[in-house]
Symmetry: C2
Subunit: 454 residues, 2 copies
Amino acid sequence: MSKFRKINLDERQMPTSWYNIMADMPNKPQPMLHPATKQPVKLEDMTPLFPVELLKQEMSTERWIEIPEEVQDIYRVWRPTPLHRALNLEKALDTPARIYFKNESVSPAGSHKPNTAVAQAYYNYKEGVKRLTTETGAGQWGSALAYACDIFGLELQVFMVRVSYEQKPYRKMMMNTWNANVVPSPSSLTEAGRRILAEHPDSPGSLGIAISEAVEMAVKDPDTRYSLGSVLNHVLLHQTIIGQEAIKQMEMAGDFPDVVIGCFGGGSNFAGISFPFLRLKLTEGKKLRAIAVEPASCPKLTRGTFAYDFGDTVGMTPLIPMYTLGHNFIPAKIHAGGLRYHGAGAIVSQLLKDKIIEAVSIPQLETFEAGVLFARTEGIIPAPESTHAIAAAIREAKKAKEEGVSKTILFNLSGHGVIDLAAYDQYFSGKLENYAISDEEIQNSLKELQPVNV
Amino acid sequence: MSKFRKINLDERQMPTSWYNIMADMPNKPQPMLHPATKQPVKLEDMTPLFPVELLKQEMSTERWIEIPEEVQDIYRVWRPTPLHRALNLEKALDTPARIYFKNESVSPAGSHKPNTAVAQAYYNYKEGVKRLTTETGAGQWGSALAYACDIFGLELQVFMVRVSYEQKPYRKMMMNTWNANVVPSPSSLTEAGRRILAEHPDSPGSLGIAISEAVEMAVKDPDTRYSLGSVLNHVLLHQTIIGQEAIKQMEMAGDFPDVVIGCFGGGSNFAGISFPFLRLKLTEGKKLRAIAVEPASCPKLTRGTFAYDFGDTVGMTPLIPMYTLGHNFIPAKIHAGGLRYHGAGAIVSQLLKDKIIEAVSIPQLETFEAGVLFARTEGIIPAPESTHAIAAAIREAKKAKEEGVSKTILFNLSGHGVIDLAAYDQYFSGKLENYAISDEEIQNSLKELQPVNV
């Protein structure tokens, strides 16, 4: 097949297991530590927050974990997603590179997030949980979980980072449509929120703060559990259906990626596209580069430190071995709300430390420039998060042109930006900033990192 | 295949011709009349407005019209679109009916409109036109044409009905992203607009007024042509790719619709899904009902009159033989902006007159109730226009339950409602009205219809 524009899979070709990269990592991540005892957390420590099945997945080293029938059934509402060849973008760049993208924007909530939301809602429902709490940045995760909870009849309380709550009012309406309650974070619903509001009444919020609030509320009620949209191993696991589909589709295209690219917040979207390909690298010696793309204003992978740090701002979560800017780091108000997170998941951090993957950071204006070119060539207005992957793909395609070499680039289009159009409006009217960050700011932020002896 | 959720076609299965129902109609529509001479319009009368190829299609009675390679190539950016089985909706309704929907929301602009936008932009580009003008209601058509013009390097001036311009700010931003200029209509850019503003400074606008403005601007500049998103024969023609794909997909599902349903503004979305099925009814004697669904507040098909009327408000277009509420009719401010049009296309009007199709009108609140149920079951938030088709499908499914009969229902999901979320917000807070319309209002509006002797 040549010069096709996209490859669809039939429902019956949808993968039936998730891929757990823990099985194939040369060095497994260090264990998470209990915030009080500083000892490795045990499954029982976490049951107030998560259902047992998800905790088993969190700690599993089995290579393949079967996707429950009920979850597969809901996946089929939108999956398998198409793989596109970005022919018009290639033409606009006049590049010898072949650019492919996996289109996760076709899901109910408009992003890859429902892949784990549906799975998490399902396991909670199966264990009799009545209510979930969660945080959300730009709202992609919150709306995905709202959809999933509505399907399985669970209540949902969403803490939405205040800056995004104000930037993206339609996200709240979308979550309400799927029956969720949404408040801006920091809120007065929790002790954590009230404490932060007392100190910083104008706090724009951050994912770290919102997580503190959601965790606090879940811990206090035995019928309530907490749900996280990224960072944790089981969340990354659920996203691997993306890359597994992409492998089949690339085979049908008669091609294989030299470079696999995903934007990076906590790691779930990057893991989703790249881990199944990394399996081929780790177990079959396939050559490929995997690039995680973070915002220049929140550069934990490229300028942070590798340390034990909390997943939230207040310090309620276990300590995670991660690349981090410190849990008190409040990222600038970029529109890619899903990438405004101080740390990286343990697996991805270990892979980066072991040089199995690469990371790059890109400033906001370059990402919007890339997003506009993509919208004008491929017809999909990308989410601000996804524009980071596009910008990195464009850099790679331009390099291929300069070097005069052929190259196959695959990136994950994590979501559409229809609800983020106000951000494009600001870009066109010259109101967007790059939010450069100095070494001093980073050093100051890392100073606040409490040292942990292990 | 049983209990599948959707059927995708491969790109290579995409139809390569449009279907022209003129070839198979027992009674062809009466000719359009020149607004001044009241004689049948000739192709040459229309060349200031449209490129020759589109005018040939407008008057053609050939059954199949080949889709140009370049148009097929752009179609493949998002086509073929999926056919879904609405299993969760069926379950929620506890109906014996099988409900299918064709999902046109996956296009760049989020609706079926790019099917004709791309074709129209292409033919204009081929004939050396530099610039297009158009009107848009809710913005679905304007954004589709913005995308299409950007692909072929044409400039675009959009007149957006003022009420929608204010209700749906993201639509303007979307059009801007694809390089179009957008003004609220009535505007001060045209004589027609200025005249209406002088009389009604607070005019909410209407599709009829916006058409007057767009036509006026096109006529005044030899490098500019006009483009219409519905009503005309060639526009309906381009949409027939929807129904042709659906026929293949229903075959793959091993099923055939008893009822085919589309929402109705000017007729393009209804024609797109139904005309290819009507071919099987007209030429092969297949039994099926085709139902056009209009808003109760703009009921030209169910409560209007069949007469020659102008396509616009000011009276610049040819006279069209149509079901109409009169070209001065200003519909209530319902959120389904694309259905706020006083008349119906000539072909659909003739089919209704000949009882080959049916029509039904549904009040706004029932359509939103249907839209919310659909979002909560099938995961797609539908456009306010599309909720009309959903509401009619639900009525049919409930009737099947009452009668205890099996039935196959197919409707066209014309677009997603992500940009219309503010309408859902209003619905949830009880701020939406039904906008009932009295017989007297309709009679008064029809009185203004200038009688035309032919």
